[in-house]
């Protein structure tokens, strides 16, 4: 905002106006967040996907993980299962859930209507994704606490890597969700269109099979998948591994994917249904 514009708008120049703008933005986000939270609470399918699916997956995996040759690679059931479950939270509670709700809002013309108002595009997307992100975070914290106590994983040795991994994971999951709406016609179709990313990530990003126990050639390729660096960071955080080069490499891969997804959203996101 230039000085003349501020004067024309009859506002005090400088921090006063900026603070007011920030407060406005926070209020708008909070309003959208509250509405989306109510809607999530009323959508049983989404609630199941968000709250139960990650746990069900973790329980289903437990037996298989306990039979893997883990000790040789410095892993344990806990350090495979916990990061894996955090991955499932990212996939089901965040990615699938946000894709579904954004598509539903688009088809109901809610997104278009919101764009007629004061919310910026970024606020609309952030506010729509926020309930899923916060519920996902709550689950991850709960998992980390319970898992550290109940499984043999113990507390994370490098918690900052776990935090970094989860933060990047949230960013990628939300950005990929918004990008996925471009190929999704309806909430029902979302169940289908979210499958590729879900399966590729589950199979190839070390959520079920840690990349460490795979042959190097395959592992080197799978490391480039969007959620592989996230899983790597979280696992490193738990077992305390991860030298700086490795961490930087993971950061770069994760940020490239986040950047690509954000670019795709900016370029192709549709705010209203196709007729």
């Amino acid at each position: 905002m230039s000085v003349t514009d501020v004067k024309a708008a009859g506002q005090r120049p400088g921090t006063g106006a900026e603070a007011a703008a920030r407060r406005g933005s926070r209020e708008r986000l909070a309003a959208l967040f509250r509405a989306e939270l109510i809607l999530l609470g009323r959508n049983k399918a989404a609630l199941f996907m968000t709250l139960l699916m990650p746990l069900i997956m973790a329980l289903a995996m437990r037996q298989a993980v306990s039979e893997m040759p883990l000790q040789a690679n410095g892993l344990s059931v806990g350090t495979v299962l916990l990061p894996g479950t955090i991955g499932f939270v990212l996939l089901f509670a965040v990615y699938s859930s946000v894709t579904g709700s954004l598509v539903t809002r688009r088809e109901e013309l809610v997104l278009k209507r919101l764009r007629c108002g004061e919310l910026s595009d970024r606020e609309i997307l952030a506010g729509s994704a926020l309930p899923a992100v916060l519920l996902g975070l709550a689950q991850i914290v709960l998992l980390a606490v319970l898992g550290s106590l109940a499984l043999d994983a113990g507390a994370p040795r490098s918690p900052h890597l776990v935090v970094l991994g989860v933060a990047l994971g949230m960013l990628i999951a939300v950005a990929m969700a918004a990008a996925s709406t471009g190929i999704t016609k309806s909430a029902e179709a979302a169940q289908l269109t979210t499958m590729p990313f879900v399966f590729v990530s589950m199979g190839g990003s070390g959520m079920i099979l840690p990349l460490d126990i795979l042959p190097d050639k395959i592992a080197n390729i799978l490391e480039l998948l969007p959620l592989s660096p996230v899983m790597g960071l979280v696992r490193d955080g738990w077992i305390g591994g991860g030298d700086l080069t490795e961490t930087v490499k993971r950061l770069v891969i994760a940020l490239v994917w986040a950047g690509l997804a954000v670019f795709a959203v900016r370029r192709w996101f549709r705010w209203e249904p196709r007729h």
Binding site: R28, A31, A35, I38, R105, V110, S120, W271, E272, R274
Partner: protein, 324 residues
């Protein structure tokens, strides 16, 4: 420097064009069809406090125009100013001062009426209290009902309540009464009149002539992406002639009538045996014609004489331009 606020002109549109690309992007784009130009160079302006109606048949370009004014899309060509700003690139400056109602929908089906208004109130600068907004549109009794259970009329009223939450200076209404029954339509008209009386500038689209005639200070009739005519209802009607039509009596040709110019008839057309005369002086032309018929002792079957009306003007514009 741009001083939109001191001027009485609130909306300024010059040479506006909007094209929908062949590869999506636009609302009306159909797969694999060529680019389609929905708005083909239109100019108009709206002054503060005016109620301006864009009138036209479906597909005339009304909604495409309104979406540009609302800042939902950038024009392909021309310039648009709302309150002195570009509504698309200067969204943050324009939005707090305008309200909009889409042609349909826009609310999550599973929220209640009150939850919906509360959400919008949180996202609107200087919003009225939720209870007051609901009372204004008579929805207080329905506040706990989910949006999906509302009737079409109730949805429109909820829509109007959210569009006017921030007491906007400018209000955009896209076909505010389409699909409503007569009573709901009149209620909506009453609400719109009250807003206008309160100083709100209103731009609405409609394909109901009656609606434009009832509400609009000025209107523009759009046809195939262009403005065919614009002005007050009286202006628009005045540019169109009154009309007399009748069946020519058996054995008569148009040449048997008295000289048309002497009757004050400006033009005529025939369709089968039916003759249509256009005149800007209906009384003189009708008198001349009827005196002639009495003198000849013939009956003019299907005789119909009518002053120009908005409907007549509208139909002639639609037809006239199609013929080109």
């Amino acid at each position: 420097m741009d001083i939109g606020d001191t001027s009485e002109r609130v909306i300024d549109v010059t040479g506006l064009r909007r094209r929908y690309g062949p590869s999506g992007g636009g609302r009306k784009s159909k797969k694999a069809t060529a680019a389609f130009e929905a708005v083909r160079g239109i100019d108009f302006s709206v002054d503060r406090g005016e109620l301006f109606a864009l009138l036209g048949t479906n597909g005339a370009g009304k909604t495409s125009t309104l979406e540009i004014l609302e800042g939902l899309a950038a024009p392909t060509g021309g310039t648009v100013r709302v309150l002195g700003h570009n509504p698309y690139t200067e969204r943050a400056k324009v939005r707090p001062r305008v309200g909009a109602m889409l042609q349909e929908g826009g609310f999550p089906a599973e929220l209640t009426v009150e939850e919906t208004v509360r959400m919008w109130a949180g996202a609107t600068t200087g919003a009225r209290p939720v209870g007051e907004a609901l009372a204004t549109v008579g929805m207080t009794q329905r506040k706990d009902v989910r949006v999906k259970q509302l009737s079409g009329g109730e949805r429109r009223r909820l829509d109007l309540a959210t569009a006017t939450l921030g007491r906007p200076e400018v209000l955009f209404l896209d076909e505010p009464t389409t699909g409503l029954d007569t009573e709901a339509r009149h209620t909506t008209w009453e609400l719109i009149r009250e807003l206008r009386a309160g100083g709100t500038t209103v731009v609405l689209t409609t394909h109901y002539l009656e609606e434009a005639q009832e509400l609009a200070d000025r209107l523009a009739i759009m046809h195939q992406g262009r403005i065919a005519t614009a002005g007050t209802v009286a202006d628009v009607v005045a540019t169109h002639p009154a009309q007399i039509s009748f069946e020519l009596p058996p054995g008569y040709t148009p040449g048997d009538l008295p000289p048309l110019a002497a009757l004050g008839v400006d033009g005529h057309e025939t369709a089968g045996r039916t003759l249509r005369l256009q005149t800007s002086d209906l009384q003189r032309a009708a008198t001349g014609l009827l005196l002639w018929a009495r003198d000849e002792g013939v009956e003019l079957r299907g005789l119909d004489a009518r002053s120009a009306s908005l409907e007549e003007a509208f139909l002639r514009i639609a037809k006239g331009l199609e013929d080109k």
